[in-house]
Amino acid sequence: MKPQTKTDRSQLLSAYLDGELDDVQTRFVETSVLEDPEACRELEKLRALKNLIAARRHLAPSRGFWTRLSTELERRKREEENLLPFPRKYLPLVSLGTAVVVLVVGFVLFQQRATLVDYVSRQSERVQKAVEENVLKGSLMPLFTHIDKNQALQFAMFGTLPLDAKAETEMRVNEDSARGYTIDVDKKRERKTPTVTVQDFVDEVQPSRVQFQIIDSLLDLGRVKLEGSILMAEDKAMAVNPELSRLNRVMLSGIAAALEPNQRVKFEQFLHSRKSTYMLAGGRRGPESAERIYHTMRTPEGMAQFVVFSPDTVLVSRLEIDLDSLRRHTGEMVERQRAVGVHVNSLIRRMAEREIAVSLQQRAPAPHVRISGDSESFSIQVSTRWEGMPAMPRDPWVRPRMSEQAGRHSQQPDAGFDMQLGGDDSSFFFNLDMDSITVRMGKSGNGGGFEVFKGDPRSRSRAVQGKERKMSKLDSLMNEMDKRERQRERVQKEKQLPGLRR
């Protein structure tokens, strides 16, 4: 037996000194030490070291060690017992009891899981309902009141309406941007909107008496639609009818349709000289019938769809505005108009403060409504697929002056369904898909300027139905126009049938 390395030899010598080697190893070490002086020296040094350590002075015995130890043990025992609300000896029993209770409760919950899920689901629905019902709380007030015909014409030509008396903030609808149809509410742009009056229009275009009557009615219809398009609730929720985004174009198209070709040339000059965002595009066709013109302004049957948004929610709601009620409360509205302006500013500010970001992974159809903005403004972008959008005539009489941009928009691919409210700095952004988020709701009450009815018309109360029967003159006029249109189409079909037989 021979150690391989110096370390092996050291280990053997060390173990030899400790008496931990067997007989063979012991004999080997003893022989090695006799033969190898270096191993002998190492062994001696190791022995000296061992003796040195063994001779190390011990500590003096500790007095009172047990006293201190027993005191500490008692103290800890008391602390431990104080922590438990029962004697320590019952700890295993209590643990066992707790385990049994947990098991029993777990088993019962598992057995009743269907009921539990149902209960949770019901509670979620209640919460959802509560959220929905809290939107549009209190009286509803129109954002715009007392719109005169001059303002209606200005809106038709430029798509703008001043929001406050000082005209610092304005509502603006756009079709000439790459974003498509948008409704913006923000600070007035630097480019000043020229002042236009109906008298200017009459002076330059010189419509006949009948034409003027049609145009006047058209402006009147537009004015009323404008007044009922943006509502503000006391809880700072805002309801916007997206139809508004195309209303100006429809109005302008109606005016153009009522004119003779030579008058249309003058009208185009009138628009061009005042830098209107639209230009005429009807060619030299003759004027449309009054019925046809009024038909384009017709509101689809049933309640109009509104986008209702508050700082916390955005939803689509079907609301019906009672125009008679609007007129009754017009005086009251003047007093309230100041409060509306404050509410609008507060809503915009609060929406910009939101920090909610939701990302939906699944692919979904492009949204129909997109709301975005920052702390000073908001913008509602409406898809052409919005069902509440008024139908454009097949051959529109007007088109945006920036037609190239509008064309680009029409080819713009549908955006994804990333939904975000909040985000960087103080901006917000929200996409609303009609198919997934359609919530029917409404409000009835006499406190506000508008009467808004809720849900299926068949389920309304008698009182509400009574109010509904009082149709406004405008409603009567529009219904009459519808009736005549249907009658005219029927007559045309009857005329065509004998020809076909031949």
């Binding site: 400790d18 931990e20 020296r41 190791l46 190390r56 500790s62 130890l69």
Partner: protein
């Protein structure tokens, strides 16, 4: 069944078979532990008094700091008292309580962030310089003890504990392996390594002794 035809008795039965009239101090560790299990807490006092000095010296040898010896020793016996109901007589109480002491010491060393590499560095660097200078100056007895303590303290934890258990307390390799919870071969190599390190530090003293 054993060869003598008697059934082998359980450990506790064998332990209690000792004469009852013996004073507690004369009873074996196992009997005292059984008595503690049975609620005789004064038996624990005898166990403490039997081993307190050895534990104190072990801790002193490891730390070379008299100030912490009593506190740490107290912690060792409190731990032993709390865990005594788990003692199953599979080892001697002596090695069991030493294992607790070693583990407590290790915990304390870890708290102080004394790592093996740090100790080794100390050994190689500062200890070499400071201790070398002192050792060369023929130290007196007190100084010799100090130097020896400092040399031990400079060893990495696992080497230090092994050498203390062997050369101070005289445990066998098997017992050290049990206390340190490692293999006998590991004990062997650790001891050899520890001694080599100590030899290097204490070389001048050893030359004189040889």
């Amino acid at each position: 069944m054993s060869e003598s035809g008697h059934k082998k008795q359980p450990m506790a039965y064998q332990i209690l078979a000792q004469p009852a009239e013996l004073p507690l101090q004369a009873k074996s560790d196992e009997v005292l532990i059984t008595l503690v299990h049975q609620g005789e807490h004064t038996a624990f006092r005898v166990l403490v008094e039997r081993y307190q000095e050895r534990i104190r010296n072990l801790i002193y040898s490891i730390f070379h700091e008299p100030g912490i010896v009593d506190d740490l020793s107290q912690e060792v016996f409190i731990k032993a008292y709390e865990a005594l109901h788990q003692f199953r007589f599979q080892s001697s109480f002596y090695t069991w309580v030493y294992r607790i002491a070693v583990n407590k010491s290790r915990d304390e060393l870890r708290k102080r962030k004394v790592r093996r590499w740090f100790s080794l560095q100390s050994l190689m660097e500062s200890a070499d310089r400071e201790l070398g200078a002192k050792i060369a100056a023929e130290p007196q007895d007190n100084e010799l003890q100090e130097l020896l303590g400092a040399a031990l303290k400079s060893l990495p934890e696992k080497y230090r504990i092994a050498v203390v258990l062997k050369d101070v307390d005289g445990f066998s390799y098997e017992e050290i392996a049990e206390i340190m919870e490692c293999e006998i071969g590991t004990v062997k190599s650790r001891l050899s390594r520890a001694r080599a390190m100590l030899r290097k530090i204490l070389e001048p003293l050893l030359k004189e002794a040889v």
